[in-house]
């Protein structure tokens, strides 16, 4: 198939990543559709974080084709257009959430006059208004990861890459975050690529990429996956695919 203008927000062909002697990702081919919430599911150590780093352009030794928003991954133009939240919260714990956001907003070029309002709205989006002026060091793990998420939301990126954003959060907060993700996709047309090792989050996604041991097991919708494998749950579908050795 020749496709002169790849439509995907992420367009990967035969994507391979080696770290030292180990092949962490081998020959991945997939597309992430614009304006969708795509789940990247699979067990820990399966290469999810490496794939996300490759997409945001901070992973070395990437071979194959990897285009992001129509540009090669890591292209300087993409720095404004792609938001990335790592598994460990990357924020300054010796600042308050508001001071963190204020700094990152300045780095992103938000003008001084608009910064306070923009920061306040973003803090409200992740439900942190009550803790905006507490020292980040004193926040809980879940609150801290929401500060980290808020930083990524600041720049209104077209593609948001989130590495396990809902780990360790209480169910209410988890639901609220997933609602926020879908709102971003609907209202702003944001594309979201969200990783999780919790299979029951699969049904929150419009599309799924199942990754295990650096290989892509499936690239489909949750319903189609269940239908194709005859399994009742995505977890069942995952097991079926592992056991039958099927590839996407």
């Amino acid at each position: 198939m020749t496709d002169p203008a790849p439509p995907g927000a992420v367009h990967a062909r035969d994507l391979t990543v080696r770290r030292g002697p180990r092949t962490v990702l081998s020959g991945l081919t997939f597309d992430v559709r614009p304006g969708t919430v795509t789940g990247l599911l699979g067990p820990s150590g399966g290469g999810k974080s490496t794939l996300m780093r490759a997409v945001v352009g901070t992973q070395a030794h990437v071979t194959g084709t990897l285009d992001v928003l129509g540009r090669p991954a890591g292209h300087p133009d993409l720095r404004r257009r792609v938001g990335y939240v790592t598994q460990a919260p990357s924020v300054y714990t010796d600042l308050t959430p508001r001071q963190n956001l204020d700094y990152f907003a300045a780095v992103l070029g938000v003008r001084r006059a608009e910064r306070a309002g923009h920061v306040g709205r973003t803090l409200a989006d992740v439900d942190l208004t009550d803790h905006a002026d507490d020292l980040a060091r004193t926040l809980s793990g879940g609150q801290l990861s929401r500060v980290s998420l808020a930083v990524a939301l600041l720049g209104r990126p077209e593609l948001l890459v989130l590495d396990e954003p809902t780990v360790g959060l209480d169910p209410v907060l988890r639901r609220d975050l997933w609602d926020l993700f879908h709102r971003l996709a609907h209202e702003h047309g944001t594309t979201l690529l969200i990783s999780s090792h919790v299979m029951d989050e699969a049904d929150r996604c419009q599309r799924l990429l199942l990754l295990r041991e650096g290989r892509l097991l499936a690239d489909d919708t949750p319903d189609a996956l269940r239908t194709r494998t005859g399994a009742g749950t995505v977890e069942g579908a995952f097991l079926h695919l592992v056991e039958t050795g099927a590839a996407a």
């Binding site: 901070t58 990357s90 600042l95």
Partner: protein
């Protein structure tokens, strides 16, 4: 590698952020500002019987304090930036390496200015440090020393995996310079190989510059050379340090 010019607003935002972080840590600020002063007072009484010996050593210390403290503060701060994931995050944003490094240099430079002003004021007014030249020239060298300390700290933080390791770089990088800078014995009386080594270590010029101000009322050619060497070394090490800020995970 993008080689964009530094953006003033991002440099200032970074400097303000670094200073805000410090503002949440008043104990560190107190230690940074008060310890040099107290050590100078201590030294003053160490030379209780021989006041003339205080001047050269006191002047040299006014240059050595900012270098050492800024080295420590910067190496720990940038190590934290590297290990907390914030560096990776910043470099994935439209922030140039120069913005980050100049932001740090500006914030710590401001702190060093306060520190050096306080220490110099106490040395000159309270401890009767007798200098022939202008106090401003003393401050200029102190500030360049602080920048050199910042540059060296940034550079070594690339080779440290933990804060324990970062702290150990202080005896490794700073102490040899301290021993060879002419504080303990005149450099021309050292074993020739050591003298040659001391000729290429920037702290030797920092201490020499302080002595020039101490002894001469006017700006001497040696002082200008010393200031240029210290400032040039700082710029060089900062540039090398910038290369250690990597955008990619291997």
């Amino acid at each position: 590698m993008t080689s964009s010019l530094p953006s003033p607003s991002r440099v200032l935002a970074t400097a303000r952020r670094v200073l805000r972080q410090l503002a949440h840590d008043p104990r560190t600020i107190a230690l940074l500002l008060l310890v040099p002063v107290l050590l100078l007072v201590l030294l003053y009484y160490v030379f209780d019987a021989d006041r003339t010996a205080f001047d050269p050593i006191g002047a040299a210390l006014l240059g050595i304090f900012p270098l050492t403290t800024m080295f420590l503060v910067t190496s720990i701060a940038t190590l934290r930036e590297r290990t907390s994931g914030t560096l990776e995050r910043l470099l994935a944003m439209p922030l140039g390496k120069a913005d980050l490094i100049l932001g740090y240099a500006l914030a710590f430079g401001a702190l060093a200015t306060v520190q050096a002003t306080l220490a110099t004021t106490v040395a000159v007014w309270a401890l009767d440090l007798d200098i022939a030249g202008s106090t401003w020239l003393l401050l200029l060298i102190a500030l360049l020393d602080a920048l050199l300390g910042t540059a060296l700290g940034l550079f070594v933080s690339a080779f440290a995996r933990s804060e324990f390791q970062a702290v150990q770089f202080m005896p490794a990088v700073i102490f040899p310079q301290l021993l060879l800078c002419g504080l303990f014995a005149p450099r021309d009386s050292m074993q020739p190989v050591l003298e040659a080594v001391s000729n290429v270590l920037p702290m030797s010029y920092a201490v020499d510059g302080m002595r020039e101000v101490l002894q001469h009322p006017e700006v001497t050619a040696d002082y200008v050379r010393d200031a240029l060497v210290v400032g040039g070394s700082a710029a060089l090490v900062l540039a090398v340090g910038a290369a250690t800020l990597r955008r990619r995970t291997t």
